[in-house]
């Protein structure tokens, strides 16, 4: 990244020394994990560029948008409806982070046995290394798991613009009514922030932008059914991660361009790994940039990842929003319907997720499922057991992994993943 960004980072209040250190680690990790892969699609060069400029050019774009009067809204969860944000000409960015940072400082505010995802968001904030947090005009927290819910009480003291959205825990009529009430309240908050009244036309446009982004991701996912897989799981994960940061229209075009290339590859029978390489479905907690540890271990152990049952993956992008309504009310109803189907583990009971995992394993012709649970993430770790049981009933092998962002267990994980690959081969 060029020197030009220094003053921008400074004006955002970043700690330049710490930020440089972070970028260095990120760059090195990207080099070792991403650029070291063989036979990547040429279209991935777009994502290489995005990643190299993730704290540079992209932030400059956000700054330019802000200068033009547009707002930036940050979120930690796929339950925050991006359609509403886009309808108010605001920019939506994901704030979840995938690396340990300033852990000592974090542990002054949060218990040690808090999951890495939450700690990381705090660490990036306390360490003043995340330009996305600093540039956000509104940060949306949401009541999903207890860890996030309670940590927002603390985060409220650290950021000036936290908005907390309540979420249901059961898929009942009452739950849906709560979601609807919360989305209407959020719409009002966004309207107030942006001074824009969201009418039906705007909402339709917002839905269209986000649906197009999802359609491109669905197309990418569909191409991974091929054997040999035309794209690595790491690269597909990256596309799903960048989903949360990039300009949505440009993102959609770039993913579609890669899909064109992948279709040609499939026609020629070309892939990133040989035909017959064991195929893995990853299921569980979301993986935010730069949390590439487990996919990297899997794809350097003789297997290829063919799908992600995750918020950063199919759970987050699964259904399109119905855009056939003509009034704000009808369109909002479509948004509520779409998000209410998200099968997050905070819901109880949550049988849809088990069905989706089995269905995805079949659709993507996975030989086995690796369930990834973040240490201390109760909802997903608890569900890991019924997931394993449901898969075993269908004779689909399952390996349950519990880990965090640290690298100390890489050796152990490698042995377990390799042994699992030997088992499914």
């Amino acid at each position: 990244m060029s020197e030009d960004y220094k003053s921008m980072w400074e004006s955002l209040g970043l700690d330049l020394g710490a930020h440089d250190a972070l970028l260095e680690v990120l760059g090195k990790g990207y080099q070792d994990i991403y650029l070291a892969q063989k036979d990547r699609p040429e279209g991935m060069s777009y994502f290489d560029f995005v990643m190299s400029e993730v704290h540079g050019l992209r932030i400059k774009e956000l700054m330019d948008e802000k200068a033009a009067g547009r707002k930036v809204i940050g979120s930690f969860c796929v339950f925050v409806p991006e359609e509403i944000v886009r309808a108010a000409d605001a920019t939506f960015v994901g704030l979840c982070a995938g690396a340990d940072f300033a852990t000592e400082e974090v542990e002054k505010l949060l218990p040690r046995n808090t999951c890495s995802l939450i700690k990381s968001a705090f660490g990036f904030n306390l360490g003043k290394v995340c330009p996305y947090i600093e540039s956000a005009d509104m940060i949306v927290g949401e009541n999903t798991c207890d860890g996030k819910k309670k940590s927002y009480e603390t985060l409220k003291n650290l950021v000036p613009n936290l908005y907390v959205m309540d979420l249901p825990q059961m898929k009942s009529d009452e739950g849906k009514a709560l979601l609807k009430a919360e989305y209407l309240r959020f719409k009002e908050a966004v309207e107030k922030l942006t001074s824009i009244t969201i009418d039906a036309e705007r909402l339709k446009k917002g839905i269209e932008i986000v649906n197009n982004k999802r359609k491109a991701i669905h197309r990418l996912a569909g191409l991974r059914k091929a054997d040999p897989s035309p794209i690595s799981g790491l690269d597909a994960l990256l596309a799903n991660q960048v989903f949360f940061y990039d300009n949505p229209v440009r993102f959609t075009e770039s993913v579609n361009k890669i899909c064109d290339e992948l279709e040609t590859r499939i026609e020629k029978g070309e892939g990133v790994f040989p035909k017959g390489t064991p195929r893995i479905l990853l299921s569980g907690c979301p993986m935010a940039v730069p949390n590439w540890k487990l996919p990297w271990i899997i794809e350097t152990s003789g297997a290829v990842i063919v799908g992600e049952e995750s918020c950063v993956g199919e759970r987050g992008t699964r259904n399109l929003t119905d855009d056939t309504g003509n009034t704000v009310e009808e369109l909002m109803e479509g948004i509520v319907d779409r998000y209410f189907k998200v099968d997050c583990a905070i819901f109880t009971p949550n049988p849809d997720r088990l069905d989706h995992i089995v269905e995805m394993a079949k659709t993507y012709k996975a030989d086995g499922v690796i369930h990834y649970g973040l240490q201390f993430c109760q909802p997903y770790l608890m569900e890991a057991m019924p997931v394993e049981k449901a898969l075993e009933e269908k004779n689909i092998p399952c390996l349950r992994i519990e880990t965090d962002y640290s690298m100390e267990d890489v050796g152990q994980l490698k042995t377990r993943v390799e042994a699992f690959v030997e088992l499914i081969k």
Binding site: D409, Q412, T415, E418
Partner: protein
């Protein structure tokens, strides 16, 4: 053809050489601080046509000698079935980790569990505890079997267990009773890991810790199942690797080069 298997563990390295399906040579060395140098020394003068590596140091070996590798899990399963053809469950407690492996009727691994991260409940734990009580590793199990009173040791963490032992000693508890309590705590952990994979009989107990009679006794008591222990429990992984080196079509990580 001579096929060799080398198991580079955290504490020891084992080497097995097979000719026409028979073990013709076994060797062992400490892993020390430079396991690759130790492994090379162990191989010095050992004739073999093909070699396969397993264990914690397998990737180092793969890089340095361009040998194919296999995980300890598959290696132990294959080695165990060679020794006892009807084995269905394998418990391996090694220096730094422990594993429970279940195979189907054909010997294929169908499920496994491994301890994560720390060395709680492994050979290393027993070694440090023996040391704390002033026993040699060989004495440790023998003395524990002489215990007359049950003592509960609740800490599985090596560091906490050490201070727990110290406080039991200062309370005047006998060394033998404390030793028994420590063995029991390791067996509790191993048994729960075995139960997670659904133990099927017969069970084979392998790895260095299988040499400890007290462990075997307690494990039999906890599982109420028939438990087999091979003559050389530490060699099972290297044996499995040697057997796999002899199979051309076997799936493993890396290539299977023919040695001149």
């Amino acid at each position: 053809m001579r096929y060799a298997g080398i198991d580079i563990g955290s504490r020891t390295i084992e080497l097995v050489v097979l000719r026409d399906g028979e073990i013709i040579e076994t060797k062992q060395a400490d892993s020390g601080f430079d396991p690759m140098a130790q492994a090379k020394e162990l191989l010095d003068g050992v004739k073999h046509d093909r070699i396969m590596a397993t264990g914690y140091g397998r990737h180092l070996f793969e890089l340095s000698l361009d040998a194919p590798t296999v995980t300890e899990i598959k290696a132990y399963a294959v080695g165990a079935r060679f020794l006892f053809s009807d084995v269905r469950t394998i418990l391996d407690i090694g220096g730094q980790d422990s594993k429970a492996i279940v195979v189907n009727d054909n010997g294929r691994v169908i499920k496994f569990e491994m301890n994560d991260r720390c060395a709680a409940g492994t050979g290393k734990f027993l070694e440090i505890m023996a040391n704390t009580l002033g026993y040699s590793l060989d004495q440790f199990g023998v003395e524990a079997l002489k215990s007359k009173r049950d003592i509960q040791i609740s800490s599985m963490c090596t560091v906490f267990a050490e201070s727990e032992v110290t406080s039991l000693v200062s309370r005047g508890e006998s060394r033998q009773d404390i030793a028994m309590g420590l063995h029991r705590s390791v067996v509790r952990r191993a048994a729960s890991m075995l139960k997670r994979v659904c133990v099927k009989e017969p069970v084979l107990f392998a790895g260095g810790v299988a040499r400890n009679d007290c462990m075997l006794h307690l494990l039999q008591e906890a599982l109420k199942k028939k438990i087999l222990v091979p003559k050389d429990p530490q060699m099972v992984g290297a044996l499995g690797a040697a057997l796999l080196a002899g199979k051309k079509d076997c799936y493993c990580h890396g290539s299977l080069p023919e040695k001149a």
